[in-house]
């Protein structure tokens, strides 16, 4: 009996060692995701981005930490207190590049393109008149590329809708144009079934903006 227990302990100890790698990763990710959800200021998002980047640097083969690091920075990028929009966006795009190099899946790449779209859009809004043809076009390309990579990604449609929502009707935007896109996003959100740790953001934002379109 004793022997069996000793064996059990040994097995448990070994298991705890091996579980550590994947479990440690997912715990650290969950912890950082909780921080991400509660982040409110540019400083908060920078801190979270740094956390994710540390995980990514240590793991070396996971795309998700870099993706979330980029997402954190792109969230900060919408805030007026970010200061230098270009600097923040360039950093966001560099993290997107790192994430993209670590995955071959088109659906993952579609998620990354959603973040890229946000960074480019932020850069465009610095000087829309002069930057529309460069950053604006590049942003649209990222969005369309993402939609081709994964036509079922709801976040891309949410972003397209939000873009239309914020564009004056004279420029081809407006609530009427945004509404069907949001509806499509909502539809896709209902269908989505993300794996653990995979991106799932955007439903709440879609619902809020869609409500304003009614």
């Amino acid at each position: 009996m004793k022997k069996i227990f000793l064996l059990l302990i040994a097995v448990l100890a070994l298991q705890s060692l091996s579980f550590s790698q994947s479990e440690k990763f997912s715990n650290a990710m969950k912890q950082s995701l909780a921080l991400f959800d509660s982040a409110k200021t540019v400083e908060d998002f920078t801190r979270v981005a740094n956390n994710f980047q540390r995980i990514g640097d240590a793991e070396k083969s996971q795309w998700l930490p870099y993706y979330y690091a980029a997402l954190s920075l792109s969230n900060a990028g919408w805030m007026p207190s970010v200061g230098d929009v270009d600097k923040n966006a360039e950093q966001t795009k560099a993290l997107c590049d790192k994430a993209e190099a670590l995955t071959t899946s088109d659906t993952d790449k579609a998620e990354i393109n959603a973040v890229r779209y946000m960074a480019l859009t932020q850069q465009m809004t610095v000087d829309p008149q002069n930057r529309y043809m460069s950053y604006g076009m590049e942003a649209n390309r990222a969005l369309q590329k993402g939609m081709l990579q994964d036509p079922g990604n709801p976040r891309l449609y949410y972003l397209e809708g939000a873009g239309l929502f914020n564009t004056p009707p004279q420029f081809g935007g407006g609530k009427d144009k945004a509404k069907p896109v949001f509806e499509k996003a909502l539809d896709l959100f209902k269908k989505q079934n993300p794996k653990e740790l995979y991106p799932s953001w955007g439903l709440k934002q879609t619902e809020t903006l869609l409500a304003q379109c009614q």
């Binding site: 004793k2 227990f5 302990i9 448990l12 705890s16 440690k24 650290a28 400083e43 920078t46 801190r47 740094n50 956390n51 980047q53 540390r54 995980i55 640097d57 240590a58 230098d84 270009d86 600097k87 950093q91 000087d127 008149q129 002069n130 930057r131 043809m133 460069s134 076009m137 649209n140 390309r141 369309q144 590329k145 081709l148 990579q149 564009t167 004056p168 004279q170 420029f171 081809g172 935007g173």
Partner: protein
């Protein structure tokens, strides 16, 4: 019981390891005694780490043991790495970061230059700005005249910068000198620039102290950088009462190359019959012009570009002759111009870049001037009446120029770089004046080197020198250039520029053999600039000294020699403020210049303020876009104080003297332009019409550019624009094929 004991033992073991293992690592991240917030601190290859707070402090716990590397990174700083040994004790350390010099935070060398381009922070004017500046009529030179340091000269083409004459400003496209940037000069009427602003993605307009990479311009250089690949394929058409044009630009599906071809025909006959012109045009101005280009992106991110343009046109006009009440002066010009520009930029690896350039241009002017009687018949004069006889002439002027240039650039880590290269210009001019040929061949060679050194992100220096040799005058010179820039705050900086600039005499001054050498100018420029949030404030003071300017020495009533004994100075202040932010969709700039300058050159008997210089000039340019109307309204107001004018005559003892002089009245011009883009923002449309209308000098202020005198000085007549106002309306159509989809499909 023993099982329980065992479990407790096991758990306590686990806990112990946890409790024992937690070591605190804390510290502070600083740079030059200043806290660095937002730095990421990482225990390499672990998840452990932290982010520094607003006072640079950080703290985190780790269970790791033994030797590890602590990595600290922050944007704008060099990564920091330190090996630490984690034992049982908490660790406390101070991390000193070193700044990284990047384009985003570094000082920029700005003295004397107006740089435009989207990526540059110092963006001042881009092609859209040029097109939407009221009164510019999409002419680059006209738009640049709203910047400080330039003169409102309307009777001659060219940029008259800080007391310099028009020919003292040179234009370069992708590094290659442009020989005939304007349409042929007609007495008292300014020519228009040959190049559309939409050919260029970047413009550097230097009002002084420019880089050693360029030379042969005493006052200023205008550096135009042509666009790389266009955004999309399109077909364009322009329909206006003056110009009809059709063209296309094709971008390859793989976005690796593009080509384009355009044609336009200008005939002002219809316009001149509607809007009365002062001169009597017996030959309505008309021009055919065509251009073509190709651009190829190379494997290593380099770019090959070729652009060619051909134009052919003629015009004839008649004006009253000033020396007689009843005769007329008829002036006829036919011009053919062919311009070719080639450039090749390549990344050679290891921080090396190469810029190759070549251009060839040939320009032929056929000019005939004739004194005519009431019936428009030619009239001849005896030699004794030489002041009338010289008005009858023919001038057949062929100018060929070939230029070749190579520049190597090596980045020395960060932004510091060295550039060096050489260029060669071969000019073959064949001016034929009344059947006398004055052929001139010049081989001009230059070698130059320049280093941009960033001592820190706040201090940069650019040191260069240029060696030049011109075979026609058989002279060489060495022109040193120096600029310093110092960042005085986050958004403000001071720069200083110094340089020596040489320019060879003008072609007509070399008709007769002489021992003329280079003319010379020394520039000192001090510049303060503050850029914040889409607002630019720029203040510049300068001092220039001229030496060895060309002087005419009378050798008789009707001809003179040239020598290099001229001199002069210019000093002044330039102010510029642009604000795109304060009012939504409203962009405006204000410029003001004051200049004090005198020159003793050409036929000036003593140091005089040149006739092309006004002491005070000012412009206000405003642009307001109404998104709901999809229209933009632009208003430009330019003002200049009066300019001096002189009647310089030759005395019987062969000396120049001032027979009469005065000052013109102030110059005023209010211009308005409107553009309407009905399909703006429509994503599903393929056509983009643009309706554009403008009127220059809306209030019809009388603009006097100077006075012409009769030979005996008894008659004085003002130099005026050919009409008080200029009107223009045009419809520009563009049908585009967005290649976005193709590019995406190809990349997947």
């Amino acid at each position: 019981m023993w099982i329980r004991r065992l479990i407790i033992l096991f758990l306590s073991l686990v806990f112990q390891s946890v409790v024992q293992g937690q070591i605190v690592i804390r510290g502070k991240v600083i740079c030059r005694k200043q806290a660095v917030p937002g730095a990421s601190i990482t225990l390499k290859d672990t998840y452990d780490g932290s982010t520094s707070d607003s006072s640079g402090n950080f703290a985190f716990t780790t269970e790791e043991k033994g030797d590890h590397a602590l990595v600290v990174t922050a944007v704008g700083y060099r990564p920091f790495e330190k090996s630490i040994t984690i034992s049982g004790q908490p660790i406390s350390l101070e991390v000193e970061l070193k700044e990284m010099i990047t384009e985003l935070n570094a000082v920029i060398i700005t003295a004397g230059t107006f740089e435009a381009g989207d990526k540059k922070r110092a963006a001042v004017l881009n092609s859209l700005d040029v097109a939407t500046t009221a009164g510019s009529n999409a002419d680059i030179t006209a738009a640049l005249k709203t910047l400080p340091g330039t003169q409102q000269v309307g009777e001659q083409e060219g940029l008259f910068v800080r007391g310099g004459a028009g020919y003292e400003t040179k234009q370069f496209i992708d590094g290659n000198l442009v020989n005939n940037p304007y349409t042929t000069s007609i007495p008292d009427i300014s020519g228009r620039g040959r190049f559309s602003p939409f050919l260029f993605k970047g413009t550097v307009f230097s009002t002084g102290g420019y880089s050693a990479l360029y030379g042969q311009a005493l006052s200023s250089v205008l550096l135009l950088e042509s666009i790389d690949l266009p955004q999309r394929s399109e077909v364009d058409a322009s329909i206006t009462p003056l110009v009809w044009g059709l063209g296309t630009q094709q971008l390859a599906k793989n976005k690796k190359y593009s080509y384009g071809i355009n044609y336009s025909y200008t005939n002002v006959g219809l316009y001149f019959s509607l809007i009365k012109q002062t001169p009597d045009y017996f030959r309505m101005p008309q021009f055919h012009s065509g251009d073509a280009n190709f651009r190829i992106k190379t494997k290593n991110g380099g770019m090959i570009k070729y652009y060619t343009t051909f134009s052919s046109g003629d015009l004839g006009l008649r004006r009253p002759d000033i020396d007689s009440g009843y005769l007329k002066n008829a002036f006829f010009v036919r011009n053919n111009n062919w311009y070719n520009n080639f450039s090749y930029k390549e990344n050679l690896g290891a921080g090396w870049k190469m810029h190759l350039g070549a251009s060839f241009s040939t320009n032929l002017d056929d000019i005939q001037q004739q004194v005519q009687d009431k019936l428009n018949q030619p009239k001849d004069f005896p030699p004794a009446q030489y002041w009338m006889k010289y008005k009858n002439f023919t001038f057949h002027n062929l100018q060929n120029l070939f230029t070749g240039r190579v520049v190597f650039e090596k980045y020395l880590g960060g932004l510091s770089a060295i550039r060096f290269g050489t260029e060669y210009w071969h000019s073959d001019y064949r001016p034929e004046y009344n059947d006398t040929l004055f052929r001139q061949i010049d081989n001009y060679t230059a070698a130059f080197a320049e280093g941009s050194i960033y001592l820190s992100k706040a201090l940069a220096a650019q040191i260069g020198t240029r060696f030049e040799y011109s075979s026609i005058i058989n002279r060489s010179d060495m022109a040193p250039r120096l600029s310093l820039a110092y960042k005085t705050g986050n958004r403000s900086q001071l720069s200083l520029a110094y340089g020596i600039f040489y320019q060879k005499p003008e072609s007509q001054q070399l008709y007769v053999p002489s021992s003329l050498g280079f003319t010379k100018a020394i520039h000192y420029v001090l510049d303060y600039q503050r850029i914040y949030d889409q607002r630019t404030l720029r203040l510049e003071v300068y001092y220039k000294k001229y030496k060895d300017l060309i002087r005419e020495v009378p050798a008789g009533y009707n001809y003179y020699y040239y020598n290099n004994t001229g001199n002069g100075y210019a000093k002044g202040i330039d102010l510029f403020f642009r604000d795109k932010k304060t009012i939504k969709d409203f962009d405006y700039w204000v410029s003001y210049s004051y200049i004090d300058t005198k020159r003793d050159f050409l036929n000036y008997p003593e140091q005089l303020q040149p006739a092309f210089v006004a002491n005070h000039t000012a412009s206000i340019v405003t642009k307001k876009f109404f998104t709901n109307l999809k229209s933009g309204f632009n208003v430009t107001y330019s003002w200049a104080s009066g300019r001096p004018y002189y009647n310089i005559q030759t005395s019987s003892d062969h000396k120049f003297f001032i027979a009469d002089q005065g000052k013109t009245k102030n110059y005023n011009s209010l211009s308005l332009s409107v553009e309407w883009l009905p399909n703006l923002g429509k994503t599903n449309t393929k056509s983009f019409p643009l309706l554009f209308a403008t009127v220059s000098n809306l209030l019809g202020s009388s603009q006097i550019y100077g006075y012409n005198y009769s030979y005996d000085g008894s008659v004085k007549s003002p130099v005026l624009p050919t009409a008080k106002r200029f009107y223009f309306i045009g419809l520009f159509l563009s049908w585009g094929v967005d290649r976005t989809q193709d590019a995406i499909n190809n990349n997947l």
